[in-house]
């Protein structure tokens, strides 16, 4: 249950930030997952983004969307994380495993169909991906998505429609992957 927080026209206080974060955490998690394209890093990135945002409360415009504002931090952290990951990959390709890589968990094994869907999802643009996840996973309506992401409702609808179509197209071939799990 979200805790009440003071609504004021001024900048966020840390307590108000924490309350709004709690209230929006599921949406923000989906935004993070949409930006990074997978769920494994979403929580870590969201935490880091929240910590960063907490030091920049003065940049929040009370007239704008909290989720949209937080998304900027999520995007920044996610991009940094991706760069770090790319550098690690480069080092690993050279056969030199950095010590910080020791002991990391094995990659998650996905159902083949799910893995295919994830790959297709990653071909979408960031906003389209986020819109699709908010619509599909959190079952938000277009007005809510628009409000959260600070975009027009028509744009949200268009993103979702095109994302669905593109996903279907990508998953048409090879045909067998379109068999949902458990289908005979």
């Amino acid at each position: 249950m979200p805790e009440p927080y003071p609504i004021s026209a001024g900048p966020l206080t840390p307590a108000a930030f924490a309350a709004r974060f709690r209230e929006s955490s599921r949406v923000l998690w989906c935004v993070a997952a949409g930006i990074v394209g997978n769920r494994s890093q979403a929580e870590d990135i969201l935490q880091e983004a929240a910590m960063r945002a907490l030091t920049k409360l003065g940049t929040f415009d009370p007239e704008s969307s909290f989720v949209a504002w937080m998304s900027q931090f999520v995007r920044y952290i996610a991009l940094n994380d991706r760069r770090k990951h790319d550098r690690r990959e480069q080092v690993l390709r050279q056969g030199i495993a950095p010590q910080s890589e020791r002991g990391t968990q094995a990659p998650l094994r996905l159902d083949p169909f799910d893995a295919h869907v994830t790959r297709a999802l990653q071909t979408l643009g960031e906003t389209a991906r986020t819109c699709l996840l908010l619509k599909t996973v959190l079952e938000m309506d277009y007005a809510e998505i628009a409000e959260q992401l600070d975009i027009p409702a028509g744009t949200a609808m268009s993103h979702v429609s095109r994302a669905r179509s593109k996903m279907r197209g990508l998953l048409e071939e090879p045909a067998p992957v379109l068999q949902p799990r458990g289908a005979s």
């Binding site: 900048p11 206080t13 494994s40 929580e43 030091t55 799910d114 599909t136 996973v137 949902p180």
Partner: protein, 250 residues
């Protein structure tokens, strides 16, 4: 859409829901709330007045919040992280901190905290073995094996045993100030574990002197923390578990 499209769409959406349903985020929200509380406590005057960022004093406000959030982050990283096996960026991957979090001390500089500096010093000292005989830091107490380390009577003492040997010591009653060797401890020992011929650092911090060292992210060592009475003990070791700390008693 055709029936085939409908089927495909349903399958895709089911897959998305399976993979992207948010986990329970209460623990994360709690951690953020704790960090926010720390930020509030750090700068209550500034925060209470809700000064716009561009106004005078905003940088001071932001700096105070940055400091508080950095301190809170130290606490957060030491907390258990719920039920998922997660990516563990340093210093989370330290098996350190046997006990719960303690109140953080403020960092000395923005960007590089005093904890990180302390951790770097310990890491350097153990890695380079500067305490080895003949080294620039060779100022060890040349007493033979400890049967009781230099401090007794209500202060932590490393219990003697045949499987470990005191190699070097500063602070306590040695008359050697650890700070003279850029070591962030009031009292510090190098203990050699004879079975593995491994040297480990044991730090004994009296009440109010906890430097909360954080090892560098690329360190080959692990750091363990153990409160003992009003004291805080640390062990820096290349091993996966502390073998000296359990033998320190009051």
């Amino acid at each position: 859409m055709t029936e085939h499209d409908d089927t495909a769409q349903a399958a895709i959406e089911a897959a998305l829901r399976r993979q992207f349903s948010p986990p329970d985020l209460d623990a994360l929200s709690d951690r953020i709330a704790a960090a926010a509380m720390a930020a509030e406590a750090e700068a209550p005057a500034e925060l209470g007045t809700a000064v716009p960022a561009a106004a005078n004093g905003a940088p001071r406000h932001e700096f105070a919040v940055v400091v508080a959030v950095a301190a809170a982050l130290v606490v957060m990283l030491a907390w258990p992280r719920g039920d998922r096996p997660s990516r563990v960026p340093a210093p989370r991957d330290r098996p350190a901190v046997a006990a719960g979090p303690t109140p953080p001390t403020p960092p000395s500089l923005p960007g590089t905290t005093s904890h990180q500096v302390a951790g770097q010093q310990l890491d350097d000292f153990l890695r380079t073995a500067d305490y080895a005989p003949g080294s620039p830091q060779d100022c060890r107490v040349h007493d033979p094996l400890l049967d009781d380390s230099a401090v007794g009577g209500g202060t932590p003492t490393l219990v003697e045993s045949e499987d470990k040997r005191l190699v070097w010591e500063c602070g306590g009653e040695t008359g050697i100030d650890c700070a003279d060797h850029d070591l962030p401890a009031k009292r510090m020992m190098i203990v050699r574990l004879l079975a593995s011929q491994t040297d480990v650092i044991v730090c004994i911090e009296p009440p109010g002197a906890d430097p909360r060292p954080e090892l560098p992210s690329d360190s080959e060592f692990n750091i363990f923390r153990r409160p003992l009475g009003d004291y805080v003990l640390y062990e820096v070791t290349p091993l996966a578990q502390p073998l000296a700390l359990p033998h320190v008693t009051i």
